[in-house]
Each structure stands twice: as structure tokens, then as C-alpha cells.
């Protein structure tokens, strides 16, 4: 790591460069974070506008209200979409984590043949444009519709979201397993544990941080997904993103800002969890002191 701070003997030009660099970085950070932060105060706007008015800037307490949150909570369709989003995200995460962790365990064994190709295939749902995936799944559900109705059902949406979530689980768990010491499983086996017991008692506790962050990624992917829902779901499976999509396209109301703020809070929560897990893992591996 090179040191970023300015040496004492720095000349005028170097000083200028240094401050320009700091300024550029601050602007980029502002560019990244401002759009997320700006909606939080606006969601408490008492007026149905999307910008700050004078009384808001003067911190007049009358200019702020929680009416959009009340509106969100009292609207049946929003409540239903929250429930739907959680149901769909929960089940698709569960499936993605199970399938993805198993696959990652297999992929990180040295005996696995065609590793690169298989990995490439398993990651591809993350790379292929969502519209193409959604169109493909739409045709697929239509073609099997006579046997199992999947279009316009919860099962259909859950399966599609599982497909989109698995790459994240595969990536995070494979990354965790890359630092895994295989002699530990052998030690477990030598102590008389059968492979299942070794997995649950030795392997799983060690790769758990990777599994959990993969799960959170899969959860967020499903929770934020709108294209597949637009293509294959019916009104019954209305999710939060689908409802926001409709809101932005049709009648934009500040209720959306209230929902957006709630979603930002959820993402902060998830990010904190993942960061804590990552740091714990790094500390355990001795990469971070303390």
C-alpha cells in the first residue's frame, strides 16, 4: 500500500494535484451516495412534491410529515406486495442456497471435470440480459403449462428467482471454500464421523459466512427483481418492485419515496450484516488485526 498523504516537502504543483485528487474523489463519492440519501428527507415532505421547498429547508416541523408512510401502510395493494415479496424472496433464497452450496462444494473439489465450463454455465444467469431470461422462461412456462401451471403462480416466480439467485451463492461459497483446508474434513472422518456429520459439524460452520452472504445476495436479487415478474406473474403475485414500477410509470406519488426509504433501510441492514460477516471471516483468517 502506498501512502496517500502529502509529504512535508511537497511543492506547489504536488499540493494542487493532491487537493484536486481529493476533490475528484469526494465528487465521485457524492455522485454514488447522494441519489440514495436525497430521497430520505423528501419522503417526509408534507406536500406532494418531489423537491425541497423553503419551509423544509428552514426545518419547519409543519413541512414534514409521515403521511406518505401512512398512505403506504393503509393501501391494501402495497401491504399485499410486501407480503408477496417476502414470501417469494424467502423460498427462492432457500432453494438457491441449497442448490448453490452443494454445487460450490462439488466445484471446489480438484476432481471435478470441466470445471471452467460448468462454472461458466452456472454463473451465466447473472450475465444474460434479464429480458432474454424472462422471455425464455415465459416461453418455457407456456410450453409446460398443460402439465404444471407456472405462469401467474407463486411457484413459477419462485423458480425463476431461484435461477437468478444461484450464481451469487455459487460465487460467494466458492470464494470461501478457496481458503478451506481439506485436511479438516479428513480429520473429521478419521474421528469416525460420516460425511453428512462432517459437513454439518466441520465444513458448514467454517463456510457459513460465505453461505450467509450468498443467501443475502440471492434474497436481494429476488426482492429487487421486476422484469421476470412483469413477464410471467399475474396481479396476484404483485411484488414491491412491480408496484414501484407501475407507480413510476403511471401515477407517480410520494408514497414511492416512502417505500424507497424503507428499502434503503433494508439494504443498509443487509450491507451491515455482510460487512460484519466479511470482517469476522478476515479476522479469523488472520488478515485483520484485533
Amino acid at each position: 500500500m502506498s501512502n496517500i498523504s502529502l509529504p512535508k516537502h511537497a511543492g506547489l504543483v504536488e499540493k494542487c494535484w493532491h487537493y484536486a485528487f481529493v476533490l475528484i474523489c469526494s465528487v465521485v463519492f457524492l455522485f454514488l451516495i447522494a441519489p440514495i440519501l436525497v430521497i430520505i428527507p423528501l419522503s417526509f415532505n408534507a406536500e406532494p412534491y418531489f423537491t425541497f421547498n423553503e419551509s423544509m429547508l428552514a426545518f419547519d416541523s409543519n413541512a414534514y410529515s409521515t403521511r406518505w408512510y401512512e398512505d403506504f401502510w393503509s393501501t391494501e395493494i402495497w401491504r399485499q406486495s410486501i407480503v408477496n415479496s417476502f414470501i417469494i424472496a424467502f423460498w427462492s433464497t432457500l432453494m438457491a442456497v441449497t442448490l448453490g452450496t452443494l454445487a460450490a462444494l462439488g466445484l471446489s473439489r480438484s476432481e471435478m471435470p470441466c470445471k471452467g465450463l460448468v462454472m461458466g454455465l452456472l454463473i451465466s444467469p447473472m450475465i444474460v440480459p434479464l429480458v432474454i431470461t424472462a422471455a425464455g422462461i415465459f416461453f418455457f412456462y407456456a410450453s409446460v403449462g398443460d402439465f404444471i401451471p407456472l405462469t401467474g403462480t407463486y411457484l413459477g416466480v419462485i423458480i425463476a428467482h431461484t435461477v437468478l439467485g444461484t450464481p451469487f451463492v455459487v460465487i460467494t461459497v466458492t470464494a470461501t471454500l478457496s481458503g478451506f483446508d481439506n485436511s479438516l474434513t479428513r480429520a473429521g472422518a478419521m474421528c469416525g464421523a460420516d460425511p453428512t456429520r462432517v459437513f454439518f459439524k466441520v465444513v458448514l460452520p467454517l463456510i457459513l459466512p460465505g453461505v450467509i452472504s450468498g443467501a443475502l445476495f440471492a434474497f436481494v436479487t429476488s426482492f429487487d427483481e421486476v422484469v421476470v415478474v412483469l413477464f410471467i406473474a399475474s396481479v396476484e403475485q404483485q411484488t414491491i418492485p412491480r408496484q414501484m414500477w407501475a407507480g413510476i410509470r403511471e401515477q407517480i406519488s410520494p408514497t414511492i419515496l416512502a417505500v424507497a426509504t424503507i428499502l434503503v433501510c433494508i439494504s443498509i441492514l443487509l450491507l451491515t450484516t455482510v460487512e460484519l460477516l466479511r470482517r469476522r471471516a478476515e479476522r479469523l483468517r488472520g488478515m485483520l488485526p484485533g
Binding site: 436525497v38 448453490g100 462439488g106 440480459p129 422462461i137 424507497a260 466479511r278
Partner: protein
């Protein structure tokens, strides 16, 4: 399994074997096989799942782009007669009679609407010709040629018949031709569409251009902050990293909504500009619902995908390289440009490719903030899937887009390696 050789005195010529007398080579091969089988068994559930619910559906979509059963199934007699038709003058009474029979049958089986729509995609105006004639065909009497031309004059055009003949095969290329603004003319030659109907090639071009701008913009914005993050002590860089990761974790729709709030004419940024006196209230600029709004929003959304690979490469560049260059007499900036930056090339490549791949398939952001001139190819695929219901054309456009993405993905996989994909 105990793999120790029988005795130490075993002579070289004797085959090494395990305790139970099997040749060691064979026993080893068997354990190897079992291990490989176990590894495959672990991967199999997900691979099967992905194959059935992802790879097969995509093949299904690609097949949609070339399959064309409607005309062959619903106008079999007409197509049979048209086989011998020269395509230059109007076909004989036989063809008219066959068409009348086919249309009547199609009306009975309720397929007439879909047939008409299919023919209409190829030559606009044919929908009403088909449905209109089908309604009257029951009362028609021979000679059908006069009766049908009387019902709809288009039956007297050679073009109508050549359209039907062209759509006869069950596997066709017209969707792909349409996706690159081409089509067959009356003579059966491939030619460019009329100028006002050429939209797809320029749309592909615009999609590539916008993705390129987004990629370059995120490289220029991402490089300085990745450098800052890699150079700061972990204590501070971890805190600043949150600023990069929070957008990464925030809903795409939330971020798109925020950009609308920020950039619209009555939005926050315009308000700030007016308040600062940079321009008058009437001079507010339209920053969103156009191509530049889409580029701005997409750059912010994809920036973390650039910063993370850059950061992880910069982290591995040892500071002694720079010190070595400086001690050899290079100026600090020379050392930076000639030593540090070339060392970050793997990160630049990985980040740029990833951002570009993700950008060319973008749908949600252009759909919400793109307005007229900010639409990308995915938006048109969705339009043909949901509104115009021209699934064949949607599949062909999707097939071309997918081809591009697969090539880029293959490039990424062979240059960077998919297992090194970074997610925070």
C-alpha cells in the same frame, strides 16, 4: 484404503498392489473415479435445475426466432398449389380456390386471427385482408379469383401471394432479416427496408454507443476512488468502501426513482442551479427522460462493478515498485503512469468488460428514465414480447443480443476468469 506396497523388497518388475492383492494402479484409478463421481453428484442438482429452467428456455426462445408453424398449418392447400407458382404473375384460379378453402377452415378452427397477425408482421395491411376475406368466404362461389379480388383488392397483388409463399416453410429467416432492417421484396431478393422503417440497426448502434459511454465514464470515475481506497489504511478504506457498496445493495428501482427526483425539470438539481443563480427559472434543463439521463443513472448504478475489480487489483500492486522507479530517477508522476497504471490493466479490463456486458442488456433504467431517445435494445425486445406480440422478432432481436453477450462473456471468462468475479 491402504495403498502401501506389499514389501520393501518388491522387485521393480513386479506390479505394485494393495493389501488385498489388487494392482495399485487399478485401485487408485477406482478411488479417483469415485471421487470424481462424488464431485459431479454434488454439482448435478444445480446443473440440472439451471439446464431445465434456464438453458432450455433460452434455446426455446432461440427456436422461436426461426420457427414458423402458423402459415404451414393453416394454409396447407394454398401452399401446395403455390409451389408450382412462378411468382411473377398472379397465380391461377386453383390457388384462389385453395386459399378460400384454407381461410374458411382457419376461421372455423379460430386460428384466423393469429394467422392474419403473422402475415401482417411481414406485410402490413394483410391483417384486414385475411380476416375480412375469411368472413365473406363462406358465401363465395367459383370463380374464386374474381370473388376474392372483389372482396379485398390486395388479392390482385402479386406481393400478397409472395408473402404467403415466403412464410410457407416452417423454418424461416425473416425474423433475423427484420431484426437487421431487411426483408424480401416481391422478386424474392433481400433488400433494406424503407427508410422510415429502419429502426433496429440504429438501435443496436445506439445501445453499443450508450454502453460504451457508460463504461468509459465509470472507468474515469471509478479509477480515482479505487486508487484512494487501495491506498488508504484499512481502517478508513473500510468506511469509504461502504459508500461504494451501499448503492450496490440498494434496489435498482430506488436508485432510478432517486435520479428522477434529482434530475427532473422541477427536481432538486435544477432547483439548486436556480437558487445559485446559474440560470433563470424559465431556463431549467431537461436532464432526465432522454439519453443523457439514462447514461447518468446507468453510470451510477454500474460504477460499483468497476470499482470492486479495480480495487482488488490495486490492492496487490506492491508499493516497492513505485519506490524502485522513483529511486531509479523517475519523477513521481512518470512512475505513476509507467509503473502503477500498467499494473492495473487486469483490473481495468475486468471492470470494463463486466460493466459493458451488464450495460448492453439494461432494461429497467432506460424504460423508466430513457424517454424517446434513451431506449435500448432490451426495451424493444420487451415491447415486441408484451405489446406488439411479435414474438418471433423479439426472439430474433434477443438472439442477436445474446450472441453479443456470449462472446463478451467468453472473452471475460478467458481473460479474467469467472471465478474471480468480485461481489464486495
Amino acid at each position: 484404503m491402504d495403498m502401501a506396497p506389499k514389501t520393501l523388497e518388491t522387485s521393480r518388475s513386479e506390479i505394485l498392489s494393495t493389501v488385498d492383492g489388487q494392482p495399485l494402479k487399478k485401485a487408485l484409478a477406482r478411488t479417483e473415479r469415485t471421487k470424481r463421481f462424488k464431485a459431479i453428484l454434488l454439482v448435478a442438482p444445480l446443473l440440472t435445475f439451471i439446464t431445465v429452467t434456464f438453458l432450455y428456455p433460452i434455446c426455446l426462445m432461440l427456436f422461436r426466432s426461426v420457427e414458423n408453424p402458423l402459415v404451414a398449418e393453416n394454409m396447407p392447400q394454398t401452399l401446395e398449389v403455390l409451389q408450382k407458382w412462378d411468382g411473377k404473375s398472379l397465380p391461377s384460379e386453383l390457388a384462389f380456390a385453395a386459399a378460400a378453402k384454407d381461410l374458411a377452415a382457419a376461421r372455423k378452427s379460430k386460428m384466423i386471427g393469429r394467422l392474419a397477425t403473422r402475415l401482417n408482421f411481414e406485410t402490413s395491411g394483410l391483417r384486414s385482408v385475411i380476416t375480412g376475406t375469411a368472413r365473406k368466404v363462406k358465401k363465395m362461389e367459383a370463380p374464386f379469383k374474381e370473388a376474392m379480388i372483389q372482396a379485398r383488392s390486395q388479392w390482385g397483388d402479386v406481393a400478397t401471394w409472395s408473402t404467403i409463399k415466403r412464410l410457407g416453410p416452417t423454418i424461416i429467416d425473416v425474423n433475423y432479416l427484420a431484426a437487421v432492417d431487411r426483408g424480401y421484396n416481391v422478386k424474392g431478393e433481400i433488400e433494406l427496408r424503407d427508410e422510415d422503417r429502419r429502426i433496429y440497426v440504429s438501435l443496436f448502434g445506439r445501445t453499443l454507443l450508450m454502453s460504451l459511454i457508460v463504461t468509459v465514464a465509470s472507468l474515469f470515475l471509478g479509477f480515482p476512488i479505487a486508487y484512494l481506497l487501495a491506498s488508504l489504511p484499512l481502517k478508513y478504506s473500510n468506511l469509504l468502501m461502504i459508500l461504494v457498496l451501499l448503492p450496490f445493495w440498494t434496489s435498482l428501482l430506488v436508485r432510478t426513482t432517486s435520479w428522477i427526483v434529482l434530475l427532473q425539470t422541477q427536481g432538486v438539481l435544477n432547483d439548486v442551479m436556480v437558487w445559485l443563480g446559474l440560470f433563470e427559472d424559465e431556463q431549467r434543463v431537461q436532464l432526465i427522460f432522454n439519453a443523457q439521463g439514462t447514461v447518468i443513472a446507468m453510470t451510477q448504478i454500474l460504477l460499483p462493478f468497476m470499482v470492486l475489480p479495480l480495487y482488488s487489483v490495486m490492492k496487490t500492486i506492491h508499493p516497492s515498485y513505485m519506490r524502485a522507479a522513483e529511486s531509479l530517477g523517475a519523477h513521481r508522476y512518470t512512475a505513476y503512469w509507467r509503473i502503477y497504471v500498467p499494473n492495473t490493466l487486469p483490473g481495468i479490463g475486468a471492470g470494463s468488460l463486466l460493466v459493458f456486458i451488464l450495460a448492453i442488456g439494461y432494461y429497467i433504467t432506460p424504460a423508466l428514465v430513457g424517454g424517446q431517445d434513451g431506449q435500448m435494445i432490451s426495451n424493444l425486445i420487451a415491447f415486441h414480447m408484451q405489446k406488439s406480440l411479435n414474438w418471433g422478432l423479439a426472439a430474433a432481436l434477443g438472439g442477436i443480443l445474446l450472441g453479443g453477450v456470449v462472446i463478451l462473456y467468453w472473452l471475460y471468462n478467458s481473460l479474467v476468469g469467472v471465478e474471480r468475479l468480485k461481489l464486495g
